[in-house]
Amino acid sequence: MLSINNLHVEVEGKEILKGLNLEVGTGEVHAIMGPNGSGKSTLSYVLAGRDGYEVTQGEILFDGKNLLEMEPEERAWAGIFLALQYPVELPGVNNMNFLRESLNAVRKGRGEQELDAVAFMKLVREKAASVKLDEKLLKRSVNAGFSGGEKKRNEILQMAMLEPRLAILDETDSGLDIDALRIVAEGVNLLRSAERSIIMITHYQRLLDYIEPDFVHVLADGRIIRSGGKELALELEDKGYAWVLEENAA
């Protein structure tokens, strides 16, 4: 589904990703772990198409198509979803309206019919309940004044509504207490399916207790320096990042 080959990315003239390779097959769950500043969020932004991230070498193929030629909204239509590490506040933009605009834009982009108001309301209620998001938050401005946990749940709600083919979760676990983490993880697990791939970016092993990955990768200094099964995460937890970094240097 996703194929990243020798990806080099510069931000403001500084090279952040330095030859990254990653293959994600349909239905697979990949965890990307790594120390702060190693380029995890940069990778997620490049996948979503944010401005200011210059790809100097390499390619990204999504279903065989060149992802780098697509606008952010076209990527969303194609089925890419990024849950941001820091969800953006949109004062004055009603959350419910935002969800409807978003869902209908994506459906239109996919050549599907827009949902009518009744069907939409039914869907949003059901999905909000599945991530235990208070319906009051649907009436407020998007993320404005939400707690950290509410923002993350709102991201998962959007994901549940849009039903992406590839979901990238950037530190969706950070800043959550154990209850909130469990709710978010349940929401993600509900979306696991044979047709949907997930990339979970995380700093901690903790999330992987709740969402079991098929593959674990270590990203350090702009490259994936080690890949393995879920046992790699446990080893990392045990020995810390220093261990892989040293082994890699050796």
């Binding site: 949109l90 004055g92 834009a105 994506v106 849009l162």
Partner: protein
């Protein structure tokens, strides 16, 4: 026709004889005429006119409308309200208006028909000062007609009253000068909506003066929607006084005109009064919107909130001059003023000047202004959710403006405002 600046006012004043009125009003007119002849022309050197270009206005000659126009070509505006009042070139037009049954003791209609009422005599000109500047003198010097609204005490009017100021078609630019008097008396509750629209006019000067008295414990919601013609000048001068425990809730949306200025002068006549003043301006090429607020806290324990937002596109220009004065006696004042501007282009320009002048020591006052562009992070976020860039820009602008519009408690006005905004944004 070109005019030297000093001739501008004399030309207007000598054009025609006014229809006669009672002695007391003739006297008011005469005094204002003297003032108009003596007052200096608004100049950039004067602080209140520093950022407002009036040069073009003062080069244009205007014909005052001294007889009721016939309103030809105009239709009764669409309105859900049982009370619709239409003023053409400043004159009440009964044929285009409809006033349904009113509560006992309430007066609603043409000021001209009530010039000898004691309450009109007592209040007309009691707040508005014809010596304030040339334009207020001009309004008073040619007083003919305008809106009179007097609720009577303890009157709750359920349906909003909708007023439309329209203009006639004319070869020469006309001068429209409604003179409005609004008395929302003790314990009354009322919503007034004023629409300032072109009608058949294009180049005209709307120079209105409105005096508002809000009585004790009265609640007055006042929505003003300015959407004048592209070649029109608009000046609204509003004076407001609030008695104890009253609530004034005012929102002005400024969309049209090439030069549109709104002046609010408010003060209090009792404690515990609340004044909410909000505004939204949308300006583009060839447009200037100008708001001047003078909020005078001269009574203890009153609360005022001034929230103004501007959306500027093209080469649009805006001026915001908001001043809060808290007198020594006005302890426990709570006053907050904000002005936020969203600049959609580099060529747009805003001059924003908030001022707090505080002489009391136990008060809560603040002011803040911002001038910013669309946030690229917000745009990116919307686009990752499948929303195209243009639509994302609309949503963010609508969200920005929505923080003013949402305070209008009439759903059809919120919809109209949203629609009006969309029409402009769609063309960008």
């Amino acid at each position: 026709m070109k005019h030297s600046a000093s001739n501008w006012i004399t030309d207007i004043l000598q054009q025609q004889d006014l229809p006669p009125v009672s002695d007391w009003l003739s006297e008011l007119r005469r005094k204002a005429r003297d003032q108009a002849n003596q007052l200096p022309l608004p100049r950039r050197k004067q602080e209140a006119w520093r950022y407002s270009r009036v040069d073009a206005l003062l080069k244009q000659s205007f014909t005052p409308v001294v007889q009721p126009p016939n309103g030809s070509g105009l239709e009764m505006p669409q309105s859900l309200s049982p009370h619709v009042l239409v003023f053409v070139d400043g004159w009440f037009n009964p044929a285009l208006s409809r006033i349904s049954d009113l509560p006992q003791g309430m007066v609603l209609g043409s000021l001209r028909e009530h010039l000898d009422d004691a309450s009109v005599k007592a209040h007309l000109g009691s707040l508005a000062n014809s010596g304030e500047n040339l334009f207020s003198a001009l309004n008073s010097a040619l007083i003919n007609d305008g809106l009179l609204l007097k609720t009577g005490t303890g009157t709750e009017v359920e349906s909003p009253i909708e007023v439309f100021y329209l203009n006639s078609q004319a070869e020469q630019p006309l001068l429209s000068q409604p003179r409005n008097l609004i008395l929302v008396e003790e314990n009354s509750k009322l919503t007034l909506v004023e629409h300032f629209l072109p009608g058949m006019g294009n180049a005209y000067f709307h120079n209105s003066s409105t005096e508002i008295h809000v009585g004790e414990k009265a609640r007055f919601s006042h929505y003003r929607i300015q959407d004048e013609a592209t070649d029109a000048w608009h000046l609204s001068n509003i004076h407001l006084v609030q008695a104890a425990s009253s609530h004034y809730h005012g929102i002005t949306l400024s969309f049209g005109g090439k030069w549109a200025r709104t002046e609010y002068k408010t003060r209090f006549a009792g404690e515990q009064a609340v004044c909410d003043l909000r505004g939204l301006y949308l300006v583009g090429d060839q447009q200037l919107s100008d708001f001047h607020l003078d909020i005078h806290h001269d009574q203890p324990a009153c609360h005022s909130r001034e929230q103004f937002k501007g959306l500027l596109h093209g080469k649009g220009r805006a001026v915001f001059d908001g001043r809060i004065l808290v007198e020594r006696i006005a302890q426990l004042t709570d006053a907050q003023l904000t002005n936020d501007n969203l600049m959609l282009t580099r060529d747009a320009e805003v001059d924003t000047k908030p001022q707090l002048e505080i002489y009391a020591d136990d008060v809560k006052c603040s002011h803040g202004t911002t001038v910013g562009q669309l946030d690229p992070q917000q745009l990116f976020y919307l686009r990752t959710r499948g929303i195209e860039e243009q639509q994302a820009i609309h949503m963010l602008c609508a969200g920005f403006a929505g923080e003013i519009i949402e305070h209008m408690h009439l759903p059809h006005l919120r919809e109209q405002a949203g629609e009006r905004l969309r029409r402009t944004l769609d063309r960008l």
